[in-house]
């Protein structure tokens, strides 16, 4: 499990090579849990299994099976714990590997509410392990790592597979509620360069306040419909065109939300516009900080992960564009299909060999 500020990410390995003998020995509670997890794609009102990400026929600890990817909001964790108690999860004597801040914050709750002991793991260690593992095991189906070709040309911009065989050095940007930026030099050599508090949580938080929406999906749907140029003040709004003296194109944003200092303009924007402007602001800012880190660390490859990017092609294209444009083609933005689950995968890999 990876218990973040907003979402809990759960990775479940379902062995598919269970012999009849084993099945016989299996306690009822384990069967019941497996059945519950694998036969549903939604749990309660907010839990979701990302079926499209499921990886089949993996070999882990000598067992063959499927890897399932499940997520639910962190504020539902108590309900999850109660369910674990009701399903006698603790009777399985399985270690629960957990990472993310919640592994520390909720450790006591796990023990008292569900009688579970956690094996707590560092989230950045897990993140990097998870990325490398998933990339190495995905061999068929949609490519795990991809980028956008021709990011500055909307007509020709398209998603392309990227070969990450020789990954180092790379800048790993994890956009969850907040953002962490890591410079990874080898399997076990990495450092956290910096981070920013303007992340996915900021996008959703501001959207909730500005538009009254309540979920990431709603916010994103609105952003897709909206137009940010009436909310933001562009370079051309100030200079009538490009600011040539400093090489600033007219379309560049001079001031995010800058037009909103005028009452008439505040009154005339739609919720969709505001959602779009919020998305653009947060995304461009992450792009800008990332680019500076890449320059300071002298790294040209940037991998963006984290749940902010889930179903968020808009932001991915923006990041691709921004990195390419402002670095004059020097920097490449890469993305991974299992964007938000790497921490949880990394934690799973730390499971003491069950056999």
């Amino acid at each position: 499990m990876d218990i973040g500020g907003t979402l809990v990410k759960l990775v479940y390995f379902e062995p598919k090579d269970i012999t009849a003998e084993e099945e016989q020995e299996e306690v009822e509670s384990l069967k019941s849990i497996r059945r519950y997890l694998t036969s549903h794609t939604a749990y309660g009102k907010t839990g979701i299994r990302d079926v499209h990400l499921e990886l089949s026929d993996l070999i882990l600890w000598g067992r063959k099976g499927n890897l399932h990817f499940i997520r639910f909001p962190t504020h539902e964790l108590p309900a999850f714990l109660l369910m674990g108690r009701d399903k006698h999860f603790s009777s399985l004597h399985t270690t629960l590997c957990a990472t993310g801040g919640g592994a520390f914050k909720y450790e006591d709750d796990f023990r008292t509410m569900a009688n579970l002991q956690l094996l707590k793991l560092d989230e950045l260690d897990c993140l990097i392990k998870g990325v490398m593992y998933i990339y190495s095991v995905v061999s068929s189906g949609p490519p795990e790592c991809y980028y956008f070709e021709h990011p500055t040309d909307p007509e020709r911009c398209e998603q392309k597979a990227y070969n990450l065989e020789d990954p180092y050095p790379l800048l790993l940007v994890n956009i969850g509620s907040g953002v962490s930026i890591l410079a990874v030099y080898s399997k076990d050599n990495y450092k956290r360069v910096t981070g920013t508090s303007l992340g996915g949580g900021t996008f959703l938080g501001l959207c909730c306040l500005l538009t009254g929406c309540s979920t990431f999906e709603e916010a994103l749907a609105m952003a897709t419909e909206g137009e940010s140029t009436c909310v933001d003040k562009l370079v051309r709004d100030i200079y009538g065109g490009d600011y040539e003296r400093f090489g600033l194109p007219g379309w560049a944003v001079a001031s995010s939300f800058g037009n909103m200092i005028c009452k008439e303009k505040r009154d005339s924007v739609s919720k969709e516009d505001l959602a779009r402007a919020t998305l653009v602001t947060i995304t461009n800012n992450i792009g800008s900080i990332t680019r500076m880190c890449a320059l300071n660390e002298n790294i040209e490859r940037v991998v963006f992960v984290g749940n902010f990017l889930r179903v968020n092609t808009l932001s991915m294209k923006l990041l691709s564009y921004a990195l390419d444009y402002w670095s004059k083609g020097q920097l490449k933005a890469l993305f991974l299909r299992h964007e938000g689950y790497f921490g949880a995968v990394g934690a799973l890999l730390e499971l003491p060999n069950p056999s």
Partner: protein
């Protein structure tokens, strides 16, 4: 920043009826030429160049050629004092709300008498909007200048010409503003201008700068997003909201995720993990204050982070912040400072500028004035005409102020100095030199004492000012105006000691001189100085003769004592001016008796005598102090001995009058008269072994980083190896701790019991400080 169409529009036409106080604002318009204007989102900054007619006291030697010797001139004054009109150049900068722009333009049109100016340089986002109005009202052609270029030009100008321009902001310290020393080389630096958006500029030389980056998350984001979230329209109201809020109610902190700190990464629990993160996960109402605070942190941290990334990439350590987001707002200065400190782990300090709001206007003006070569001169902030930092300026509560019916404005005046000022070449380390001994901004006790002291002395100063112009009946009225002005300055400084940079005894004295000049009291002590010089000259030969009869050892001691005794005569010190005024016969001998017996409070006399037994110095530079007994009976016999020893002497005196300090022109006459009596001085003058050079200052104190360039050249050429600094103002209030690269003597009699006590002595305690730099420092 571009103007917002709606929010302010209603107020642009407001209050045409308001009358401007002509004595205070747009001063010297009659002679104004070269206008420049910087129109921002809410404030207009107007700049113009003007000439100011000043009365200056001039001294002129009477023609004594007909007379054979000094003795025959008994009864006649030594020299003639006349008051002349002198024209000096001044730069005026005025800042006011855009709402008053029309009123102000009308006022200027009415008062502008004879100007040949055809063009007004304009910059700022609002310049195009008011272009037609300006052209119609002033009949001047508006000539637009690039905003960034103006900003950088202005920034270079203030950094070069205004000591204590830059400061570090420390919200919780005893003194919120920590002013920085002017670094002799201001380049390279980074300027982060936070307007609607953010521009990050690297400045490498006067005309070499580059926009290295920027961000769209700036002041406009705070304002626009803040207005959406809180329904509060005005920028400053949003800041007020923010200053009352709790961001932790809205932001998701590290401890909200971890339950505590994220120890392995060293991230503390209170760190913001996700700005506005709580509003995404909690379904509740958030207060306006809390949201505004969270927004402020989000934006300040983001800008700080980018600033640090750029500073690191370009290897820059001097980082200045400006723009309307910063301008005079403690809230934003604090959050930016915090952010820079956090992201650089304290390696880089955020610097702010006292005149940040004027940079664009200054730069636009300088663009237009290039043919006058303003950069070839040195300039000085005029304390009498400038409002000072955090004055009751238009930025602070503009709504309230507008309602009160007063016209809120802020001013900056810069006087052009006739000379270029440079560092004393003999400073050990010009970058760390601080002239002032006590920083009254930080020392609250000392501040209280000195403010009280100057307030107490004010009556006397007013009296003396009137007495100096008995023939002018309206002097009484002017003196009263001076009193009000200076008292008001003292009151301002009591509440805002940081108004003009670090508050020091020197700045208090200089402010008083500026105020006196402002009301045409150029030299209230001229007649007293004349009388005292006259009187002292009569004793010169007697003193010299009596000294000559002494043994070498005795002579040296008598000369040193004479120098100190002479320094007791000082109208600048209250304890002494009381005695002098009640007993004009207070003589030289009496003064010697007043002196503390050895060992003195600071007593390096023995080392000095040992040194004198060695080879003579090549050249001694003597910063002289008072006129009368001090210069004639103290300094001259002393340097006479140096000259006889074979040491050249440079007497550095003030260029303009300050208290009873001897000015360069007075010293010229005195020296001639002494030379007429004394062959030693006569020969020294003829052979150019004695030189009189002005120091470039009109202050009773001494700033060794702002000296006349000519003096610096003379010092260098003559291979000066001894510096003598005399008097409380020059050797105690300033330069007491100054480290020189050659031998130095700092001599003074402490004529203030409070100060004497502070230094561990009593009134009339003697400081005789003789310093020799160590070999290592000499090489430095």
């Amino acid at each position: 920043m571009a103007l917002c169409g709606g929010a302010d529009r209603g107020s642009h036409s407001m209050d045409k009826s308001i009358t401007l106080p002509p004595d205070e604002i747009f001063r010297n318009l009659e002679n104004a030429k070269r206008f420049a204007i910087d129109i921002g989102g809410s404030l207009t900054k107007l700049a113009y160049y003007s000439t100011v007619q000043h009365q200056v006291a001039k001294v002129r030697s009477f023609d004594h050629s007909a007379k054979v010797s000094l003795q025959e001139t008994d009864g006649d004054p030594l020299y003639e004092i006349s008051v002349q009109e002198e024209i000096t150049a001044r730069l005026h900068f005025i800042k006011f709300e855009n709402a008053y722009i029309e009123t102000c333009l009308d006022f200027i049109k009415d008062h502008l008498v004879n100007t040949e100016t055809k063009v007004i340089k304009a910059t700022g986002g609002g310049a195009h909007k008011f272009k037609d109005l300006i052209e119609k009202k002033l009949k001047l052609k508006v000539d637009k200048e690039d905003e960034m270029t103006c900003l950088i030009k202005g920034c270079n100008f203030v950094l070069k010409n205004i000591p204590h321009e830059a400061f570090v902001y420390a919200k919780h310290a005893d003194s919120e503003f920590r002013f920085q020393n002017t670094h002799p080389d201001i380049f390279p630096y980074m300027l982060i201008n936070i307007g609607s958006g953010v521009s990050i500029v690297k400045v490498e030389a006067e005309d070499k700068f580059e926009r290295i980056g920027g961000s769209s998350i700036g002041g406009g984001t705070f304002w626009g997003l803040g207005a959406l979230l809180t329904k509060t329209k005005r920028f400053d109201e949003l800041l007020q909201l923010a200053s009352k809020g709790q961001h932790t109610n809205v932001d998701m902190l590290v401890k909200d995720i971890y339950g505590g700190a994220y120890g392995s990464l060293g991230l503390t629990g209170d760190l913001i993990a996700s700005s506005f993160g709580k509003s995404a996960t909690t379904d509740k109402e958030f207060s306006k204050e809390d949201m505004a605070k969270s927004l402020l942190h989000m934006i300040s941290n983001d800008i700080g982070q980018l600033a640090c990334l750029y500073a690191k990439l370009h290897n820059l350590t001097r980082v200045y912040f400006g723009g309307f987001f910063i301008r005079g707002h403690p809230v934003t200065m604090h959050t930016i400072t915090y952010s820079i400190n956090f992201f650089t782990k304290g390696e880089v300090q955020a610097l702010f500028l006292r005149h940040e709001g004027y940079l664009g206007a200054i730069g636009a003006f300088l663009k237009g004035a290039e043919e006058d070569n303003p950069n070839q001169y040195s300039w000085e902030e005029n304390y009498a005409g400038s409002s000072g930092l955090m004055s009751v300026s238009p930025e602070l509560n503009p709504v309230q102020r507008a309602r009160s019916g007063t016209f809120p404005f802020d001013m900056l005046e810069m006087d052009r100095l006739e000379r270029q000022l440079v560092n004393l070449p003999l400073l050990q380390d010009a970058t760390s030199y601080i002239p002032d001994t006590v920083d009254l901004t930080e020392d609250a006790l000392a501040r209280e004492y000195w403010l009280y002291c100057f307030e107490e002395a004010l009556d006397g100063v007013v009296k003396r000012a009137i007495a100096s112009q008995k023939d002018q009946p309206e002097a009484v009225e002017r003196a009263e105006k001076f009193r009000q002005k200076y008292r008001h300055k003292l009151q301002t400084l009591r509440h805002q000691p940081f108004a003009y940079g670090s508050l020091t005894v020197r700045s208090l004295l200089d402010t008083r001189e500026h105020c006196l000049n402002e009301f045409n009291f150029p030299d209230p002590y001229s007649k007293i100085k004349q009388k005292e010089n006259d009187m002292a000259l009569k004793y010169y030969l007697k003193v010299v003769k009596s000294v000559e009869e002494l043994s070498w050892e005795q002579r040296q001691f008598t000369l040193a004592k004479g120098l100190l005794a002479g320094n007791v005569f000082d109208w600048g010190a209250k304890a002494v001016s009381d005695v002098l005024e009640s007993d004009p016969e207070f003589g030289f001998e009496q003064a010697k008796q007043q002196l503390q017996e050895r060992p003195w409070l600071v007593d390096a006399y023995n080392q000095w005598i040992e040194r004198l037994k060695g080879p003579p110095h090549k050249c001694a530079l003597f910063f002289v102090d008072n006129s009368g007994i001090d210069i004639i009976l103290g300094v001259f016999p002393f340097i006479r001995e140096l000259l006889i020893r074979g040491t050249e002497v440079v007497l550095a005196s003030n260029s303009g009058p300050a208290l009873n300090d001897v000015t360069n022109s007075e010293l010229q006459i005195l020296t001639e008269r002494i030379a007429a009596m004394d062959p030693v001085i006569h020969a020294a003058l003829r052979e150019d072994r004695l030189a009189l050079v002005q120091n470039g200052s009109s202050s009773p104190c001494l700033d060794l980083s702002r000296l006349d360039k000519v003096l610096a050249t003379v010092i260098r050429e003559r291979g000066t190896d001894l510096v003598i600094i005399e008097g409380m103002g020059r050797a105690i209030h300033t330069n007491y701790y100054a480290m020189l690269s050659c031998e130095s003597l700092k001599l003074a009699v402490i004529k203030n019991s409070w100060l004497a006590e502070r230094l561990g002595g009593k009134i009339f305690s003697v400081v005789f400080k003789y310093e020799v730099p160590s070999k290592a420092q000499e090489q430095h």
